[in-house]
């Protein structure tokens, strides 16, 4: 791969990143719209959680990854420290794979 695709990807990605801050100068968002925007971010982050838990290249990701995320989710729900959530999720998935599950 050459330099050009990388430069175009970088420029486009930065364009997306900087467009929000630039736009927010022009349009003053009302409190209501700000609230809806927060909800939109929650919707997208949830979608990111769901798709990165369950899917891999457009298909099902197998059992080990969702199991790990589930363990992490339970710990988070019981208000265990964030670090414990992340480590437990990874360890569960790694362990299941080691044992030969999905």
């Amino acid at each position: 791969m050459t330099l050009w695709p990388i430069l175009i990807l970088a420029a486009g990605t930065y364009g997306f990143r900087v467009a929000g801050p630039l736009l927010s100068d022009r349009l003053r968002l009302s409190a209501r719209v700000q609230g809806l925007l927060s909800l939109a971010i929650i919707a997208m982050l949830s979608a990111l959680v769901a798709t990165s838990t369950l899917t891999s290249q457009g298909g099902f990701a197998g059992g080990a990854r969702p199991a790990g995320v589930l363990v992490g989710a339970l710990l988070a729900w019981w208000r265990l420290p964030f670090v414990a959530v992340v480590v437990a999720a990874a360890a569960t998935t790694a362990g299941l794979r080691l044992l030969g599950f999905g």
Partner: protein
């Protein structure tokens, strides 16, 4: 940054460490796919979006056209536009700071910021997470590129589960019903509404995933806000 307490630094550190290890595997994969070490590192510094980087390098290595790969990568990164609208006020008012802050916009820095209630803490979380991730990711890529094929895939360490689990842990406070005796004084958010939106967004994206190109299902989830308007 007076607003960074120990707990926040530790939480961000855990995510940055996971991202560094994934960076190691990207570096190794990119070099195996024929990129020079410096090109892989340059890509990681200027694109700074792991998902898109893996996708583009993978598609080109599999014989796909670079044009199609770049278009797919851009589609995957389009979510940064709405992210930017939501976090614009965290980037400050001075132009150098805003331009730098925009580059640090990744899923993790946005999620960490959204999880804080206090505006000052939001700002601190965004910058700390974006900054540490940038350093961790690029150091990881350099190490992976140097080590080459010797480094195993992040799947062995279960790191593909660490990302969704950490994002979910960050989302949970805004979805959780306020418990008894718990003050929610300055938070205007309504957990009931947020839960419905989160659920519908997740389902929309999952249903769309087999049919739409990567990146689009997550953008489509924005439509879930419609359920909050009813």
């Amino acid at each position: 940054m007076g607003n960074v307490d120990r707990a926040l630094a530790r939480d961000v550190g855990a995510v940055a460490l996971a991202s560094a290890v994934v960076g190691v595997s990207f570096g190794a994969l990119a070099v195996a796919a024929g990129l020079s070490l410096w090109l892989a590192l340059f890509m990681s510094m200027v694109v700074f979006a792991g998902g898109a980087q893996f996708m583009v390098v993978g598609m080109v290595a599999a014989g796909g056209s670079p044009v199609a790969a770049v278009l797919a990568g851009l589609l995957l990164n389009a979510r940064h536009l709405p992210f930017g609208l939501a976090v614009a006020d965290l980037l400050g008012t001075r132009w150098p700071t805003r331009l730098l802050g925009a580059h640090l916009m990744v899923d993790e820095s946005v999620a960490f910021a959204m999880a804080q209630r206090d505006p000052e803490r939001r700002r601190a979380a965004y910058w700390l997470c974006g900054g540490l991730l940038f350093v961790g990711w690029n150091v990881g890529v350099l190490v992976g590129g140097l080590a080459g094929r010797a480094v195993s895939s992040p799947e062995v360490l279960g790191l593909d589960a660490a990302f969704p689990a950490s994002m979910l842990a960050l989302l949970l406070p805004s979805l959780r019903p306020a418990g008894a005796g718990e003050e929610r004084a300055e938070s205007p958010r309504e957990p009931m509404k947020a839960r419905r939106v989160a659920l519908v967004g997740a389902v929309l994206a999952l249903v769309a995933t087999p049919w739409l190109p990567t990146g689009l299902p997550v953008l489509l989830a924005v439509l879930a806000v419609g359920v909050a308007l009813r």
